[in-house]
């Protein structure tokens, strides 16, 4: 471990490390454009020049290996002049259209101009004219004039997605970023290029001209779209999500997320969402109060178990619920005494990067919380068969994934025959059309809790958007059902439930929100996955 000195401070650096990441990790902010922690070193923006004792010229920190005894200075007049130079020359051709640029407010060109640039412009020449607002893919727009040719995006498409859609064409000051005709930037990760673009050259169509970034509040969370559990930051304002961005976690998603996951937030603010419980007293569903709906559900479940036995009740859980909610649901199932419990999970295509075949954030958690058939219990298909045969009298379905995974005919047959269908979901669906009781669910964005990803990493989500009308979470619904079904005063508070999980589920022994932290907690490998 070589010892180096940066601005008079002694720092121990990993052997073979480059200077720039060492400085950044130690809180010395050396400005940079082309360097990115997850991409190869490019060395062309020249913004990270620093002074090194004994070196006749300034060096770029991104491509200078640390060595024992190296003395680095990042604030000398020569360094300041170099930074001022890069800034002045980058701005010579920049369109300075910050008023209409999505990046304004989080733009490194703005920030570094302010911090290191000159206070006046000396250029009198007209600026370079190139294409603006060019659609380069289904989800991306390119502004060639704003591009500073750092090539982060080019390297991303070369090194991360291996799709090579972006290139720099021409030479010298005629250089421009572009795609080839007929080869759009359409890979599954294309919007990451907007994140890593240090300026406003690459913009996500979805966020284009939507909101000034300085209004956004940021809540760390986990992407709900598949079992990879990419760490994200939810950007929201006035209880609405405006965009989602990846949050770096080297054990999970590096600095990336897929486009599908990133854009999969529309349901949260959808106006057609279910907001009130509904009960079918006559032919039509009618809005009722929560107490009435939950009272009806509890009564039906209790009476059915009493009259027809626990095996006449089936529960199909949702892998979109948190561990804490699923744990409570498991308690409901235990109290009812039925072994007929399973989770409906959509399995689709995965890739070698981030996208996993399990299309839910908490499939592993559902298995870990015991929401799967135990000995003698029925799985999803068997439950539907039993219902169709008139053997299952109550079916309690969480979410609507069963609609995507079950054989449609079997499902319709089952739903026709089942005595009472209870559906708990975010939206209306063919399921709710057939339901006796409909209980509205909250989305992941309105909840706090944990998901366990496919590799057994427990990670936190946080409430980013407040639910409307004090709508209870699924966990609260289960707790209230428990209160009505049995004795005791059950509450739902995620922190406390996770403690219950820690003592009840062996693989989760010792877990807590503090231990999960911002980067997650890996379950011991011995815990295994029931899948």
């Amino acid at each position: 471990m070589p010892k180096i000195t940066i601005d008079g401070r002694e720092i121990e650096a990993p052997a073979n490390a480059m200077l720039l990441p060492v400085a950044l990790e130690n809180g010395v902010h050396v400005p940079h454009y082309c360097w990115h922690a997850k991409l190869s070193v490019d060395g062309s923006c020249r913004m990270c020049q620093v002074e090194i004792e004994g070196s006749p010229k300034l060096v770029i920190a991104c491509n200078t290996p640390v060595r024992e005894g190296m003395v680095v200075r990042t604030q000398t007049p020569a360094v300041q002049n170099a930074r001022r130079g890069v800034m002045e020359l980058l701005l010579v051709n920049h369109p300075l259209d910050c008023p209409i640029c999505d990046k304004a407010g989080e733009c490194l060109l703005q920030d570094y101009s302010y911090a290191f640039g000159s206070r006046q412009t000396r250029t009198k020449e007209p600026r370079r004219k190139l294409q603006k607002r060019k659609e380069i893919g289904p989800r991306m727009i390119l502004d060639q004039e704003r591009c500073i040719l750092c090539r982060r995006c080019v390297r991303f498409c070369r090194e991360i997605t291996h799709t090579n859609e972006l290139g720099v064409f021409n030479m010298g000051d005629r250089s421009m970023l572009d795609v080839m005709e007929g080869q759009p930037l359409a890979n599954d990760y294309s919007i990451n290029t907007a994140d890593i673009c240090p300026v406003g050259a690459l913009e996500s169509k979805d966020f284009h001209h939507k909101l000034r970034v300085w209004f956004l509040k940021k809540t760390p969370s986990v992407c709900p779209s598949c079992s990879n559990g990419c760490n994200i930051t939810v950007h929201h304002y006035r209880d609405r999500i405006w965009r989602m961005m990846p949050r770096r976690n080297d054990a999970v998603n590096e600095s990336w997320m897929c486009d599908h996951g990133r854009l999969n937030y529309q349901q949260v603010g959808d106006e057609t969402r279910l907001r009130q419980p509904q009960l079918r007293r006559t032919a039509k569903l009618q809005t009722v109060a929560w107490d009435e709906a939950l009272g009806y559900v509890a009564r039906t479940l209790r009476d059915t178990v009493r009259t027809h036995g626990a095996e006449s009740v089936g529960v199909i859980a949702s892998p979109h619920l948190t561990n804490e909610e699923l744990f409570r649901l498991g308690q409901v199932v235990s109290l009812l005494g039925t072994k007929n419990v399973d989770t409906a999970l959509v399995v689709g295509q995965g890739d070698n990067l981030l996208i996993k075949p399990e299309k839910a954030a908490n499939a592993r958690g559902a298995r870990d919380m015991g929401l799967r058939p135990t000995a003698g219990g029925l799985n999803v298909a068997a439950m539907l068969e039993a219902a169709a045969a008139g053997k299952l009298r109550v079916l309690y379905i969480l979410g609507s994934d069963v609609w995507k995974v079950a054989d449609p005919q079997a499902l319709c047959g089952a739903l026709e025959k089942v005595g009472c269908l209870i559906v708990q979901d975010v939206f209306d669906s063919p399921l709710t059309e057939r339901a006796q009781v409909v209980l509205p669910s909250l989305t992941w964005a309105e909840k706090t809790g944990t998901f366990t990803n496919v590799k057994g990493r427990v990670q936190q989500i946080h409430r980013a958007v407040a639910p409307r009308d004090e709508q209870p979470s699924d966990g609260e619904i289960f707790s209230r059902l428990l209160n009505q079904l049995g004795e005791g005063q059950w509450h739902f508070e995620a922190t406390a439930v996770l403690e219950e999980i820690a003592s009840a589920v062996p693989a989760y022994a010792g877990i807590s929100f503090a231990r999960v932290g911002a980067q997650g907690f890996a379950l011991p490998e011995s815990a295994g996955d029931a899948a």
Partner: protein, 612 residues
Amino acid sequence: MIVEHPAAKKVSPDAAGKGRVLSPELRARIMTERGNFPQPRSALLGALHMAQEEQGYLSRAVVDEVAELLDLLPIQVQEVVSFYPMFHDRPVGKAHIQVCTNIACALRGARKLVRHAENKLGLIPGEVTEDGKYSVGEVECLGSCGSGPVVQVNNQPFIEKATIEDIDNLLAGKDVKREAQVALVPEGVEGYLLPPNGVSRCHIDDYVATGGYEMARKAWAEMEPEAIAEVVKNAGLRGRGGAGFVTGVKWGFMPKDAGKPCYLAVNGDESEPGTFKDRQILERNPHQFLEGVAIGVRAIRSNAAYIYLRGEYATPYRRLMEAIHQAYAKGFFGDNVYGSGKSCHVYVQRGAGAYICGEETGMIESMEGKKGQPRKRPPFPAGFGLWGCPTTVNNLETLTHVPVILRKGADWFKARGTEKSTGNTLFGISGHVNRPGVYELPLGTPMREIIEKHAGGVLNGRPIKAIIPGGVSMPVLTADKIDVNMDHDSLQKAGTLLGTGGIVVMDDSTCPVRAALVIARFFRHETCGQCTQCREGTAFFYKLLKRIERGDGALEDLDTIQSVTTFMEGATICALSDAAAWAAGNFMRRFRPDFERHIHEKGCPFPESFEP
């Protein structure tokens, strides 16, 4: 035109498969070319040259097909096509007339030729005549500064000392004279780079008759690599490509046991305006160079040399390939050379008009079939060069000295030149002199002697205004520095550098602002575009100088030039940025009164000056 390598494994048109646009024969030639390199991509520039020759220009369909033949994506090919000035992605005239307008040609009236051709054809730059026959373009330095102005039609041999009459003849479909460059060993000088005056030693028998290839035999059959490097080091031979690094020491950087192949990469991309010497070696003495290559390969424990030759050099390329064929036929290259049991191969790649490919790592990138953008260092080529293998890059002239050093010994060599700048070199002299050309002289020869004696003095006996001593990358000198000696130390003391030894003389009619503008235009055109300061700074200088030249400058612009040079010097991946800053900065500082007159008088105060 790409000449097939003598040892190439020929791919037949049948084996190359049917294409959509390219002829089966061409596909076969591309596949044959591909076989010359460890990586298919390295055949890209050659493939594009051939495809352009057949198709006229490189359409998207051609790009797709070439990509497929070389296992590339279309975008990888298109990036390369768009980078190199010699490649056209839209139609040009059947005869694409290119006039060099860089400094040496500009001083000799190149602008008049461009204007004449455009007027005569009724074209503006970039246009093609309606019948598709002609287009006119300006090019940066064609490497024939001593016979400017120079015109090249497509990839044909140059039309040197071109006149308006030549342009007329060209457009009338008549023959145009092709006058040769002057390249001489002056009387009293013991020349060894150029053959005796009036003699051409292109045929291998002529070269062998003078003892040629004897040193290559000795190097491969009798000498250890260290011993070769030692002799060359003792001789003090310094690289002739511009930086002047000691060749023997450079060879010593190569790992002894790399565990992978090592390569000698030969820089024949000569494109520094004012420099036109390497071409003379290939046109008149190619075998001595090739012998140097063979010795160099041995000295670094390699088995192959790759020569990168600038694409515009049609005649030198042809001569070199003929020489290589002859040398293979004699067994001087190939497997088991001189009974050593070792192989020694030599391949040639053609550039495509980008000056930056003369930078050693830009050249390596280009040889790998990429845009010629210099690599950041570390890693250095001696560890990670061509195809990721240890590589030494030597200039073409440098290697031509080597057989002579081995034959005559280090002491003989050191007796020429000065203590720290040993041996002869090929000085190119161009601009406003009576006998521009290449002269073989010892390093350290006084500049005055070269200008006044060998080049016959300044045109019309006018006084000198400015002298660029070693290619336009080197700081310009005022006339009073004419008594400097042309060696590394003396020129450094005079506030400049030897560079490639290409001297450009400007007489007192010359407007220094215009000269600076032409050079700034060159660097703006040739910067690869990676590093911020170089990409933007070179264009910044060009536009600013253009404004000053036009008469719209202000005094504070001169301070801006000075300040921007500090952003550009020593701040980028390669030295092109430094060169651009030195050029603009030194012209401005050393001719400041002329710049100020331009500003005060709102226009050019030199009525007789050349047109930029």
